[in-house]
């Protein structure tokens, strides 16, 4: 899939939906004129709800200041405590009342260290580490997402670091947050992101000898031969002839 939208980034910009465009657009502005066919369908005529399983991308952009709430304080405190702020932070996005800092992957452990230790930040708890695969949006399509919680100030912030499939390396944060151990293993297992410095980066949910990383978007759902009387289940997007 290709996307010729600029990848600079923010508050998500709606992009023309591909596939079935005639759904019930609750919030979503119908991007294409719905005129053809009885229900304005101009795609495949697929009424299955799968929309041909075509994925669309949106880009995120830097949010303008002031962000509101405690977000300005968090940013200022980090800028003050972390001298390399300018080159480490790629974007600051505020959306739906949540603050996301996009970090250069090689800097993630340093930033986490500052986030945890600085008295004005004090993000003591790393709630969650996981991944998202934005296939087709950018060369650096694998995003690792860290949810940090400050119990002192009762704040939450999300850090996001993007790496490419060819060079899926970033430093492990296990030395800062030991709780990231299994969560980084899961992210490795599911997305193939390699956390350098992790004490034992092995698969955790899938079997040790599994090939591929199942949560990547180019990995099909199903498609693994089921050992039952020679039957084989095709992946859902191949199962019925909607396209």
């Amino acid at each position: 899939m290709t996307d010729d939208k600029p990848t600079t980034g923010g508050v998500p910009v709606p992009v023309t939906p591909a596939g079935a465009t005639s759904g019930a657009p609750a919030e979503f502005p119908p991007a294409a004129p719905a005129g053809r066919g009885m229900f304005g369908n101009q795609g495949t005529g697929d009424t299955s709800g799968f929309g041909g399983l075509v994925r669309r991308h949106h880009t995120v952009e830097d949010s303008p200041r002031p962000y509101g709430g405690y977000f300005d304080e968090v940013r200022d405190a980090l800028e003050e405590a972390y001298p390399a702020f300018g080159e480490a932070i790629e974007k600051v996005v505020v959306d739906r009342g949540e603050l996301t800092l996009h970090i250069r992957p090689e800097r993630i452990a340093e930033v986490c260290q500052v986030m945890r230790d600085d008295p004005a930040l004090r993000f003591e708890l790393c709630s969650s580490v996981s991944g998202v695969d934005y296939l087709g949006a950018d060369a650096r399509r694998l995003h690792v997402v860290y949810q940090l919680t400050s119990m002192t100030y009762r704040r939450q912030v999300r850090l996001e670091a993007a790496v490419s499939v060819e060079e899926p390396h970033l430093p492990s944060v296990t030395s800062v947050y030991p709780t990231a151990d299994w969560q980084e293993r899961e992210t490795y297992d599911m997305f193939g992101v390699i956390f350098d410095g992790h004490p034992a980066l092995t698969r955790i949910l899938m079997p040790d000898d599994w090939e591929g990383h199942p949560q990547r978007k180019d990995y099909p759902l199903g498609g693994v031969p089921v050992e039952y009387k020679g039957a084989e289940i095709p992946p859902p997007d191949k199962r019925r002839s909607y396209q």
């Binding site: 019930a24 657009p25 979503f28 229900f39 739906r96």
Partner: protein, 441 residues
Amino acid sequence: MTGSNYATERETTEGRVFTVTGGDWDDVVSGVDPINEGRIVVNMGPQHPSTHGVLRLILELEGETVREVRSVVGYLHTGIEKNLEFRNWVQGSTFVTRMDYLSPLFNETGYALAVEKLLGIEEQITERATTIRVLMMELNRISSHLVWLATTAMELGAINMMLYGFREREYILEIFELITGLRMNHAYVRPGGVAQDVPDEAIVKIRDFLKLMPKRLKEYEDLLSGQPIWLERTQNVAVLDVTGCLALGVTGPVLRSAGLAWDLRKTMPYCGYETYEFDVPTHTDGDVWGRYLVRNAEIRESLKIIEQAVDRLKPGPVMVDDKKIAWPAQLAIGVDGMGNSLEHVAKIMGQSMESLIHHFKLVTEGFRVPPGQVYVGIESPRGELGVHAVSDGGTRPYRVHYREPSFVNLQALPAMAEGGLIADVIAGGASLDPVMGGCDR
């Protein structure tokens, strides 16, 4: 060691391997050369009655002392997060309810809150729907804690407690069945509200439960709290202090048993928890005993919340007004669970073509969710249950990740068990209350 029916032995490249199926531990140990094989590695699980499901523990032992513990998870991985990406947003409820099977309503509520935040309709959720969610979650918290108490007591040798715990849990499951149509896997809390209003007979049953439960809780405490074996097995066992909990990301009753009153219902309220009057029980010992006391106290607090929630239930809609989001049918509970009401089917099939089209589009294709990502954390019986949901603007989730407290908390087992006795591995592991369905997803 020869002639034992219980522990066969064979030589491998890694050394001698015994397969133990029961019988006398002395038989096994006598087969080990005490000078050259000071440490033996014991593989506990994944099929073991005391590991709370398919958890596998690899224990390195010196005599009865545990030197190293390594947990192996993933035996119950069912790819729910991947599956979600191929179904529409409403169908997601049906998947997530199956993750942590002891607290399905928390999985559903966390998911619904995340989708609603993505849609930006948090303000439109009706008061009745929110109150019902709180009511259901607190009932679920009690049923989950009861299973914890029942199974843990059983693992530590108190079989009676197991029977009593499951008896009261069954009562709650009957309430759930009355309200949602199903004992488990409800898919009851949906994005936009709940699937079905609470029937009056359920309220009667809940009020009966509120009268019954304090007495039963007293019975459990009479049975266990002063009992020497229970005290021996729980006090000063599997200690983890606040620092250890925070470093390892442990939340929920385990963290509160170490003394930190961190409860998302109080500290980062959702679903209007700030308007309910309840306390956050804590303890300072940070051992299995403390966790037992904290969970028992939490059952009492949940009863208080349920009482308040039942009192403030006022008639009203349980789904958002927006017909582009709300499920078009008025659902009804049939003999085989929940389905479309007959009146609704009669209307769309017999009278209104437009209703039929609307129903068809919304059910098959679903609603679109504006692009973006959100993280919602709620306090499940096991700790912080976080839902990270990403939308690309389509009718299906782009990515949903569950920060499962069972998964995260299990990392603390080596810290609790290493250096202790092998029997305390069971107590320590049980005190974390891991549910493998949630852990492995």
